[in-house]
Symmetry: C2
Subunit: 224 residues, 2 copies
DNA sequence: ATACATTGTTGACAGTGACTACTTAAGGGC
DNA sequence: GCCCTTAAGTAGTCACTGTCAACAATGTAT
């Protein structure tokens, strides 16, 4: 649309173009260091043009982070429609989706959780992040109501779930887990332990989730 | 020693001075962005002097990261001498020490786990990091041998422990947990869930660790 | 049509990391 | 004692960044 032979002076929708270009760059993550000028360059626009839409670099990053939380929530919601499965499978499915999002958008995920930027935005970022957190809380509440999850303070269980999943995601992003992608052994093994901690005693009679069952299926860690 | 009134031409031990200055800066973490020139400035030395001791900025950062892993391992080792306690207490003690290290040295901890830098160093960093990991593995092995920890593939349990503790640390650093410092509710609550996942059924008869017992003691999360 | 607000461009500034040429101090062989 | 090699520190360049101010092109309301 804006591929006019002579670039028009007014770009039409530069704000959106800048955001999408930036998201593309974030997805590449070739040890890339995010640069406003590079964004402008790729968007085919002068180096200061983005300043007409974002007061500064931090504002753009904050916007990207919010979009990231939105997409993460969408990913999690999309991953859990098969509510017919057991709760333990539901939890592992959500957890896998979470880690997958992080490893597929490493730079974006890191940005979402970088304190500097978040501080600048304040409230709005929190709403989006809380929406993600709610997905987890909802599953736990349902599990406790159904009796398949231990009756414990739900905040503690949520802390364990969130902390574990966040930690595994960061480790995976930083390449500290086995090179195989998400869904591979270390994550499932860790989830198995988590689920055993969450599960009520009676549900634990059931066999542990599959990929973590036999000792041979759990790969050791691999620092690159 | 090198506090001579007229700065001596040869600094004596600039390498060490640079490292300690950098560690100081890392400890401050005022949204500070680490700059070689600032290090030189604080060390009272010209902006290119550090290049006589480190080939480039990444090399200095790598050195700092290695020191960080060493100190983390020391912290963990120092935190666990009371082996007379129950294993579950031992685990929570180590975990608290781990998170405390992270929150007390936020920038250093983040640096230790930043992929870019680690990639540059390669092997040496891994040795140090593995030494930290070994502290965790040792406790788990001991627990399995003593029967107080579930007989499961130890890598999975280690993944759970490491992932959880790393995740909680990062969340705390980024200010996403309740403002109270380490040892506060969310961490203990999460650890309680973890311990229930690790513990063998018979040991779980014992009451959960104290601060996560009553629902009232577990604070909710707090996005700033 | 004309004034105005919006959007994009250009040029400039200070600050950064990498790098190089220069200068000074320290120590060893004679 | 002297000279010379080498290590350590300094100054300055280069390319790049984020940011800002001035300017130009465009669209819009009157």
């Amino acid at each position: 649309m804006q591929d006019a032979p002579n670039r028009p002076y007014h770009h039409g929708d530069l704000r959106r173009t800048v955001i999408e270009t930036a998201l593309d760059m974030l997805r590449e993550e070739k040890g890339w260091q995010f640069t406003l000028r590079e964004v402008a360059r790729r968007a085919g626009v002068s180096h200061a043009a983005p300043y007409k839409h974002f007061p500064d670099k931090a504002a753009l990053l904050a916007e990207l982070a919010m979009i990231g939380f939105d997409r993460l929530r969408e990913s999690l919601s999309a991953a859990k429609p098969t509510a017919s499965n057991s709760l333990r499978e539901e939890i592992t499915t959500i957890a896998r989706a979470y880690v997958a999002f992080g490893t597929e958008n490493p730079a974006l995920y890191r940005l979402m959780y970088s304190a500097e930027e978040g501080q600048a935005v304040g409230i709005h970022l929190n709403e989006r992040a809380l929406a993600v957190f709610d997905v987890l809380l909802e599953v736990l509440r349902r599990g406790q109501a159904a009796g398949s999850i231990r009756k414990r303070p739900i905040e503690g269980q949520a802390a364990a779930g969130w902390g574990l999943v966040h930690g595994m995601t960061m480790l995976a992003i930083d390449g500290l887990l086995v090179p195989e992608k998400v869904g591979s052994a270390p994550l499932d093994a860790a989830l198995s332990t988590l689920v055993e901690g969450l599960g009520s005693p009676e549900t634990l009679r059931a066999p542990a989730i599959r990929s973590a069952r036999g000792p041979g299926r759990v790969k050791t860690f691999c620092f690159r």
